[in-house]
């Protein structure tokens, strides 16, 4: 029983769109017939976030021509610069949206002086802040949660790099995290 000869294409399309992007790529490797289904726009449209068009147009690489939905998916699942302060990435396994705030979008204590803004080849942002001497570290960032994926558990990461081994007294400190959600009508939820 070869399913690609039995089921109509729109049915196969639906089945594959109910798996995951990684499974769709696996299906493409099964046979020619299944590949033509697994690559079709109807499948990849389901995996893309509903606002993918505005994500592309909001990114600084908005010159993307429309080469098929699968290509668009691949394109936005590698990190794309969204603005100088923010970048975007689609988690390729799940199609969930991730945003990264650059140092320029954060308020960082000691971030004014005596520190320097510089570029680091390994950073996805054109500028990072280098803090030369700090007594403690406090970083605040804000993101509009309406741009995130629904029904999704998010984790927040702080990405930093210690300058050299002489950086002392940093590794074994407790880290405090405070998160709050605000709406135009006031605070609606706080967790610590």
């Amino acid at each position: 029983m070869d399913i690609t000869r039995i089921l109509p294409e729109e049915c196969l399309c639906l089945i594959i769109s109910l798996t995951s992007p990684v499974d769709a790529c696996g299906s493409a490797m099964v046979s020619h017939a299944l590949r033509s289904v697994a690559d079709c726009d109807a499948v990849w449209e389901k995996f893309l976030p509903s606002d993918y068009k505005s994500i592309i147009s909001g990114s600084s690489s908005s010159s993307l021509l429309s080469p098929g939905k699968r290509r668009i998916y691949i394109f936005i699942s590698v990190s794309i610069p969204f603005s100088l302060k923010m970048s975007f990435q689609l988690k390729k396994e799940s199609g969930k949206k991730c945003y990264m705030l650059g140092a320029r979008a954060l308020s960082i204590i000691w971030g004014d002086t005596p520190s320097t803004w510089k570029s680091l080849p390994e950073s996805r942002f054109s500028e990072v802040v280098e803090l030369k001497l700090v007594w403690w570290l406090e970083v605040k960032g804000m993101i509009d949660i309406t741009i995130l994926s629904y029904n999704t558990n998010y984790a927040a990461y702080l990405v930093f790099k210690l300058r050299n081994k002489r950086t002392i007294e940093f590794r074994h400190r407790a880290v405090g995290l405070h998160m709050s959600a605000e709406s135009p009508h006031g605070k609606c939820g706080v967790c610590r």
Binding site: D23, C25, G26, K92
Partner: protein
Amino acid sequence: MSTTVPKKITLRTADNHEFEVDEAVAMELGTVKTFFDENPDATDEPIPLPNVSSKCLSTIIEYCKFHLSLRARGNDSSSAEEEGKVYDEELIKTHDNESLVELILAVNYLNIKDMLDTLNQGVADRIKNKSVEYVRRFFGIENDYTPEEEAEIRAQYEWAFEGVDPDDD
């Protein structure tokens, strides 16, 4: 509306079995509904369903009856939703791959959207996180790629498998 006895509709399967069902149940079958919408003066002749076996049709009628009765209870409780879920899970569980595909074919022809979604999801769940070889066996598909083509495609889709756990079989 004065009728108290619900109108019956007779459906005839590919293997020549006749099923007499309530009009409400028959109307769950999109294809049958369209037929009556387009032919309001249709007689009481049995409606032929040349793409549906009697085995499939009896499963489909059971499904439609059950979900109709759940809907008739209205949005009274989450228990109706829960019961529907349990029924759907059981439906998937009691069908092997081949009979599931046969059922999808029939439901697709009869155009019953909810049931089709349930069945498609059932098949999708069975191939999720599986290896290419597993999906081939599952779908009964012969590998028609040459080794060169296979290597080329593997390279092209490598993006998807970077940093993802290896397939389980």
